[in-house]
Structures are given as C-alpha cells and as structure tokens.
C-alpha cells in the first residue's frame, strides 16, 4: 500500500536560515503522526508547508499520489487547528463551524445537519448560538476542532493544540482530541513540543531538530532505541556520562565508568559501538542505589524529586557526572554516600553514542 500523504524532500529557507532541511515523511491513511521538537526546530514551518501557507524552496507534498505543492491553501482541503484557534470573533459557534461547509457550497438542511454533526462530535450540542468570547479555553479548542473537521478535509493539521490550556485541562482535552480523531479516522499531523502529548496522541512520532528529521518511529522505538543522544535526551528522562567502551561481550559490550566496569546489553538491530570513548545515555530506571561496594560507582545524593509512587534521585559521582536514579522516596537521605549499579530488573535503558564532534 502506497503512502496516503507524502512529504518528499521539503526544504524551506528564511533569509539565510534553513528552517526545514530536506524533510521526507510518509503517513498511512488514518494515521496520526506527531511532529515533536524544541522551539525553533522547524516543526511548525513543516506543518505550514503542508497546509500551503508557506511554499517550499525544494521538495513536494503528495496526497494519494497527487502533487499539491503548488496548490493554494484555499483549494487544498487540509483542515487546520491553529495554536490560538483563530476563531472568527464576530461569528457565533454555529457560523464558525458552518464557514468551511459554506465554502463548499453546502446550504440549507444539509448544512444544518452537518454543523450539528460536527458540534456533536466535540460534545458542544446546544452551544451553537454562543459567541466565541463566551466560551472557555477548552470549549474554544473544541470549536476550532469542529470547524476544521466539518468540511471533511483530507488531512487534519494541529499546531500545538493544547499549548493555550492550563495543565489540568490539558490532559482531559488531549484524550478528547484523540477520541475524536480516532472516531473520524482522519489522517492527522500534530505539532508539539511536549513529549507526553506526542507519545499519547501519535501512532508514530517524528523528532525534529534544527530543521532536520532526527528519527521517526513508534513511541516504544524512540524510547527504547534512540538513534542519537539528542533523541534519547529529548524523549523521556535520562542522564549522560562519558564512558570508555572496552569491548564486546556475549550480549553487548563492556564499558568502564570512572574505573568501574559494567556489562551493557546491546540494542537489537543496532551495531555495537567500537572500543574507545563514548557518550552513555542512561535511563533513571536502569540504575539502582546500593552500598559503596565493589562494582558500584561511588556517588553522593544531591537531590530528590517525587514522581508518582517513587522518586528520582540526583547523584553526583565522585568523578563529577550527574546521574538520575529511580528509587522508593525514603530510600536514602540527601547527602548520603552511596554506590550506583546497573539495575538487575531492567534490560536495556543504556545507550552508547559516539562523542559529539567525533
């Protein structure tokens, strides 16, 4: 099956800066892809290239094999939910939702029926005559979604849809958005800088940095097998330290951290790092706190953060590396002299990358 939506080598320059640097992506029909990256990574520009608000300097946008690169946003039939919603303040909810349908020439009873259906989809029946200013932020968000979906676009684009909501509302709205999109089954591209959002909403997640696509994959793939330290660090909690790779073992490699040797499992499908210096990225759950015993890296506990039923401790090794460790909240007091060892329970969680600039 060929891709439903295809971004083919998109390049966009602003003045001298390369905002989007040869981005290629494919989306299957009905798939939800989350574009994740820090601000300035080019993710919003990529979305706007898709919507047609920007014209790429190179590359194409294809939908079901049709090249729509040069087609104006007006006739592209891509629905979009804007970061600030961009609801028309002088029109009521109904008129906002009807706007796109009217563009298609839908009139009369058919129009009413389809507006009602869109409002029902986002649970806003009975809100049709409200003015935009009378709605809460979450309701405005849903009106924006209903407005974008009402004309039954081919693709739905969401630009940081939750960034204007307060945190308590965010989680609920996230679920609502996911349910609506699943129910409609529309192919969707979402832009966000929140990892939680990307992981919960996206079937696949594409991580961007400085205009380039770093890695595309399912949340599990990104977390379990990041291609570089940036993706590993951007996705989930982790800490890094410089290590020496000593050589291969039966299931992975042997490394040395501050003179202490650990065996590390390899990641399936990834080549083992060659011997020499490497950057270790380690998840907090891949470490455990022990006594200062042989095989443990010596460290001092410097801080503690509660995360649900457990806590994440920050430890400074005697060699100066800052590492995070998961443990029960009462495990050790601050300032304790401890040892750190790889956790026996969890396989993986340790990733080795070439040092920057090498």
């Amino acid at each position: 099956m060929s891709a439903f939506l295809r971004l083919d080598g998109l390049v966009k320059r602003f003045k001298r800066a390369l905002a989007v640097d040869h981005v290629s992506l494919t989306l299957e029909r009905g798939e939800l892809l989350a574009l994740l990256g820090p601000s300035g990574s080019g993710k919003t520009t990529t979305l706007r290239l898709l919507a047609g608000f920007e014209t790429p300097d190179e590359g194409r946008v294809l939908i079901e094999g049709d090249d729509v690169t040069g087609i104006a946003p007006v006739s592209r039939r891509f629905g979009m939910v804007f970061q600030h919603y961009a609801l028309f303040p002088h029109l009521d909810v109904r008129a906002n939702v009807a706007f796109g349908l009217e563009s298609l020439g839908v009139r009369g009873a058919d129009l009413d029926r389809r507006v009602d259906r869109a409002l029902a989809l986002v649970d806003l029946e009975g809100y049709g005559l409200r003015r935009i200013g009378q709605l809460s932020g979450g309701q405005q968000q849903r009106v924006a979604l209903a407005r974008a979906l009402a004309p039954e676009p081919r693709v739905l684009l969401l630009d940081e849809p939750l960034s204007n909501l307060d945190p308590t509302l965010r989680e609920r709205t996230r679920r609502e958005i996911r349910d609506v999109i699943r129910r409609v089954g529309i192919t969707t591209m979402l832009v966000t800088h929140e990892q939680d959002e990307a992981f919960e909403l996206g079937d696949r997640v594409a991580v961007m940095r400085e205009g380039r696509l770093e890695q595309v994959g399912t949340p599990d793939e990104l977390y379990g097998a990041p291609v570089n330290a940036f993706v590993g660090g951007f996705v989930g909690r982790s800490s890094t330290a410089e290590v020496a790779v000593l050589g291969p073992t039966a299931r992975g490699v042997r490394i040395a951290l501050e003179g202490v040797e650990w065996d590390v499992e390899g990641v399936p499908g990834r080549p083992l790092p060659p011997p020499g210096r490497a950057l270790m990225l380690i998840r907090p759950e891949a470490l455990r706190i022990t006594a200062r015993e042989p095989g443990a890296v010596l460290a001092t506990i410097t801080g503690r953060r509660f995360v649900g039923p457990s806590a994440i401790f920050t430890a400074r090794t005697d060699g100066g590396a800052m590492l995070e460790v998961v443990a029960p909240p009462q495990a050790v007091p601050a300032g304790a002299q401890v040892g750190l060892m790889p956790s026996r329970r969890v396989g993986g969680g340790v990733h080795l990358f070439p040092m920057d600039g090498e």
Binding site: F78, L91, G100, P151
Partner: protein
Amino acid sequence: MTATPRSRLLVVVLLAGLVWLVAYPLVLVLLEGLRETSGWTLRYVRLFLERPTEWQALWGSLWISVASVVLAGAIGIPLAFLFARYDLPGGRVLGGLVALPVVLPPLVGVLAFLFLYGETGFVSLLVQRLLGLSEPPWRLQGAAAILLVHAYSMYVYFYLFVRAALQSLDASLYEAAASLGAGRWRTFRRVVLPQLYPALGGAAVLTFMAALASFSAPYIFGGGFRVMPTQIVATRLNGEDRLAMVETLSLTLVALVALWLFRGARRVESATGGRKGEGPSRIPVRRRSLRIALAVVGWGLAATLLLPHLTLLLVSFVPLGTWTIEPVPPAYTLRNYLTLVQDPVRARPLLNSLWLATVATLAAVGIALAGALVSARRRMPGSRALEALLALPWAVPGTVFAIALATAFSVRAPWTGRLILVGTPWILPLAYLVRNLPITSRAILGGVRGLDPSLDEAAATLGAGPGRTLRRITLPLLRPALLAGASLAFVTAFGDFVTSIMLYTYDTRPISLEILSSLRQSDVGVAAAYGVILMLVSAAVFALGAERGGAG
C-alpha cells in the same frame, strides 16, 4: 484601590472645576437663546425657524459633513489596505508620507490649497496655460472647494484607523479562512470587514464631527455658501447675539444626534484590545509590471499629497508684491523669515502662540492626569461624571465652545461664577484648554488603564508612599501616554483658528490670525512663512510624541 479622603477631595475639586469651565458655559449659552432682558422668550427660536438662510446653513453643514465622510472613506480605506496588506516598493516610507496632512493645521491647509488651486494658484495657472484658456479653469469656491479640503485633511482618520485595525488582525484568521476554503473576496467580506466595523465607525464619527465643526475652509472658500459655524460668526458680527445662541443650539443638537446615531462606534477600543498571535505579514507583490505600476501610482500619490506642503514652503520665499500673474514666482528671498524674527510686531504672534499653547497644554495634561488617575484607579462616586465632563467638549463644535466661553466670561457676576475674562490674555489659554481636554484625557486615560494595578501594589509592599509611587512608578510608565496627549494638545492649540478668531485680543493675537491679516494685505510670503513654521512645529511635536510613545 479604594478611595482615600485625599482622592475624594481631588474628585470634588476636579468636578467643580470642570462643571464651571465646561458644563456651565454651555448651559448658559443654550439658555441665552431663550431669554431676553425682560424674561423668557421663544422670539429668537421663531426667528431662526422662519429664516430660510438658517435652514440652508444647517442643511449645508449636514450634507457637507456626510459627503466628507464618504469622500474621506473612499480615499482612506483603499490606501489603508494598500499599505497594510501589500509589500510595496518603498511601502514603509510611503505609508508614513500618506499620513502627512495631519501636520497641516486647518487654516494652513486652506492657505496651501489657495496657493495651489486658487485663482492664481500654481496648478490653476498651469492648466490655464496648457489649455490656452483666457480665465482660470475653475474657481476654488463654494461646497466643492470645502469638500476638496475636507477630503484631503480628513481621509487620514480612515487611513490610520483602518490600517491599525488591519495590522492588529491575527494573521491566522486569514489562514483559517483559507484552510476552510474561503477565497479572497469571501475572506474579506465575511472575516476581515466585520472586524473593521469598529475602526470604520470610529473614523466616520471623527470625520463627521471634524467636518461639522470645520471653520477654516468654509470661512475662506465658502463665498455665498454658508455652513452653521460660519453663519454663527456672521450673525454675531451683525450684532444679533441671541439669534447666534439659537444657531449654536441647533449645531449642538446636530452634533449630539450624530453621536447618538454612531454610538455603536464607541466600542473601538475594546475591539482592538484582544489581540492574539502575530500580525499578518504583508503580501508581496511579485509581478514586475504590477510592482512598477504600483510604485508609480504610490509615489505620484505621495507627491500630490505633499504638494500643499511644498507649495507653502515655496511661497514663503516670495518677496512682497513681486508675484502677480506669473505661474511661478519670479524672485525669492529669506526676508519673510527674517521679518518674523526681527520685527517685534511680526514676532509677537509667534511668541503668543507659543506661550498660549504651552500654558494650555500643561494645564490640560495636569487636569487629564489627575482625572485619569482618580477615575481609572479608584472606584468612587463621581468618576463617571468626571470622565463625561472631560469628554464633553469633543461633542461640541469649537465655534459653540468659543461662543459659550465668550458668553459666560464677559459678565462680572462672581456670585454666579461669572468673571470678565474676555479681553484679557487668559481667555485664549482657557479656551484651548477646554478644547484639548477630550483628546488629552483620552490618551492619558488609555495609558492609565493599560497600567497593571499590581505595580502600584508592589510599590506599596516595598514601602513606597503615594508620592514616591507616582514619581518613580506611575509617571515614568505613563510617559508615552503623557507625551502623546501633550503633543496632540499642543499641536491643536498652536494651530487653532476657530476659537481664536472669536476670543483674541490684539495683544494676544495668535499665528492663525496673523496669517489671515497677512493674506488680507496680500502679503502671501509672510502668511506662508507663518504657515511653514506652524507646519514644522506641528511635525516636530508629533514626531516627539510618537517616538516616545513607540518606545514605551
């Protein structure tokens, strides 16, 4: 913040002062028309109703004002779209130049038009020569001449209001409309235009009120065509004072009815407040031929708009009596400017205007600041009345206020609050002050409302008393608003003609009246030199106000 005894006292003092200065003279003049020495009478009202000339003047005022709104809109709105939405070659410079008619005080604009399109104006003579006519191709007189000047000086309201509204529209509104399949025309009609209604309404009100109150253009160009403000002055010159009061009443009523009809336009400020997201970027014009055409049109337009300014400058170098029938003056000199400095009689009006405008501006800023601080910062009885009194002079044409002050302060009756100020140097600054209160307090009130009240509270928690908070926190933050308010007040007072002509004395004659008398003596060079000075000072003061305003 709540009311303190001190702020209560301030409200009472301000209210009393404003009632005495603003409301009382108006009530007096409106009542005078219904009275004579023996008691109440409707004689003058009947006289007014019976004279066809009165009806003609009232009708003239009305239709001229409506036509001015239409014309100003027809010029200003397309220009606003052009410069706000499209990225034109030299667009930034042009966009600024287009607003330049603002720096011409009404009388100076009229003067420039006279030099350009009058019987012996440059353009008139040029056309006459080109076509080989024996007479000038047109006469700059009557309603058409008035409308020409109004259109030129008033389209700026539409231009500035609509441009600001367009620039404050969230860019994603356009994109949302496009992504919902709306084409350019539908986006304009359904999305953009409705958001412009407040700006259009605001500009229409301003233009209507300015045209209704306009005095300079009808006074110089009217000829047999009368509008109410010139009619009032003529009636007073005939000695029919009480009839003039009835005319004043009629003009006030027209103004109030117009404001009532346009009351929806009051929402201008609230509509432009809720800005989110980024302003729309300008649409680049790519096609080469179109770019060139637009550049030619744009710069041609700018040249036309700047013609009055340049003409004034040119004529100001013409020596007395040397320019008669030539299309271009034959000789040039700096004498006109030197005279203004060296001849004490000529220098006097300059100094007069300077000190009169300065005093009026300082007083207006002081009163407006005090009023804004107590009414916007503290909820207390009387603050709404205070704001209404500060805004009231705006609703009343300048001629009406001049007559009101002339009536109230020409009688010595201290127990009824009436003094003799007419004929003293104090009546003019007082009149300027009253006329400036609305614009000044509007600017300053806006600034005060924009301040975060928690800044005051923060200062208080840091141990700053009211005086220190005002000096260290409030005033520095209000600087842009204060400068904007002051510059508007100063420019208006410095160029004032309509109130001055009724209240000036020989010793306090301001520049505008000296321009008029120079013109009457055919000393066009000196008249133009005064005009250039008015123009340059206005421009400099505006630039100062805008620059500081922009920085804040």
